[in-house]
Amino acid sequence: MNEIVEKLTICIEFGKINQKSPFPPSMRGEVGADELTKQALEAGINPAEILEHGLIPGMNAVGLKFSQGKVFVPEMLMAAKAMSTALVHLKPYFQSGEVKRKGTFIIGTVFGDLHDIGKNLVAMTVEGAGWEVIDLGVDVKSETFLDTLGKYPNSAVGISALLTTTMANMESVVKNLKEKHPLTKILVGGAPLNAAFCNKIGADFYSRDPQGAVAYLNNLQNC
């Protein structure tokens, strides 16, 4: 594989954004995802290859380490930031259709809940896995999910909650979404949740971490 693309994977995995970024300390002074993506495009590497073989494996690697408890939220945030920086350079190719997304994923924290860290991590990881992500933010009501699903009808939906008090609000959102869009796959996640609760409220999949959501979504795409 191309050396630039290989280095890009490492930069994403370890959250090296650009040459100026002091993180990670072991890569201080080296070029990062920003410069390497530009270099790869200038070298004529296909943007789809940059995404498929450079960025996505990097996010997969850090996502796996996060699932295994080997890295924590700050390291995931740095990786996602490096990924976002690289994606800026690929954006024109997404818009022209030269690079295709795997699908669209609508995500938000359920109404009544203002926490966004878990939701952000899932959004960033799913985007890093090649999906278009529509992030509705926090305190999202059923109507907003429904309106957005109307605009992106074949999307999957992710709903997050951090509190035992707000997880109960997921049930009405799932019910409303399923009534109008019975085929839409709904993923739920958040600290107080589990698979049993997911089943109880009629959602399709509970993921305890971002990587689980990616695996489920990628599997949907392959079905």
Partner: protein, 336 residues
Amino acid sequence: MNKKQQFDKLLSGELHSIVLFKPILMHFAARFNKTTYGKLASDYKVLVESNIRCMEYFDLDTVSLISDPYRETSAFGARIEFIPEGVPKCLNIVIQNEDDAKKLAIPDIYHCERTRDRISGAGHFQKLLKGTVPVGGWIEGPLAEACDLAGVSEMLINLMCDPDYSNLIMDKCMIVAREFAKAQINEGCDYIGIGDAICSQIDADTYDLYVKDRHKELVDHIHSLGAKAKLHICGNINHLLPSIGCLNLDIIDLDWQVEIQEARKILGNNVVIKGNINPVLIQETSTQHLESLANELVQQMHGQKFILSGGCEIGVYTPIANLMKLADISRKTKTN
């Protein structure tokens, strides 16, 4: 022996055979007292009354001033909106950049309405309970407060990229934390809970680099003022336990993800472990199942310094019968 004497004996190691009971109650306490979370968080009299009603009904062994994360944030200048049936909402990010952090003034906690309200709550508890029940104060830990002021993602990225900026923010949070703890102790708090929820989301090296010494400083400060110190970090802190073991805490809250016996081995026998049934289970499962889980936990912790509790806040929809079952299990150890 009243509850205060019982609490003191548990902490000093004189009582090993009993299990005290003190779940974290906020929204639940408000609803139990037929009021709203918004009122509980904004009016110390409502908070105190709700806590005392719960204490009397469920035979709780301490009362607490915990309400929400934004007392100190409000003192630093954030605008807070009270939601009737939800956690108060912080409407603005106080620190957007390094310049904001440098200019951020240290607030007078007696002047700010929200911090003054909690201080008044400490005094009100003492006035009503007359020293017979331990009163717990509450402060935000330095990283949690820094996240409240600067935004969670932004602050966690700062930890990775900008140590000076991170330290500047947390140093200012520490000044307020120390003052706020002192004010609550002066008004009669017997112990102070330090809430630093976000710490479960950072690795042990980052905790050691930025937070551990600050936690130790707060614990020492609280001890120097004659009170006991408790640490509460939501979530899985298995990876932080060796560092937390060096803090000289009196009480540690353990959330349900922590393996409690392993934690005891790492933390030693001096600290009171408080926990750690999954609050979702307390809310969702049958009373019989909960009884079995709680009995198993109490048996595991037999002869140790232990307070029975949920791993984190009790959900607002928790059946009264379930909480009462936990109270019964604790009560049984006191009468045997």
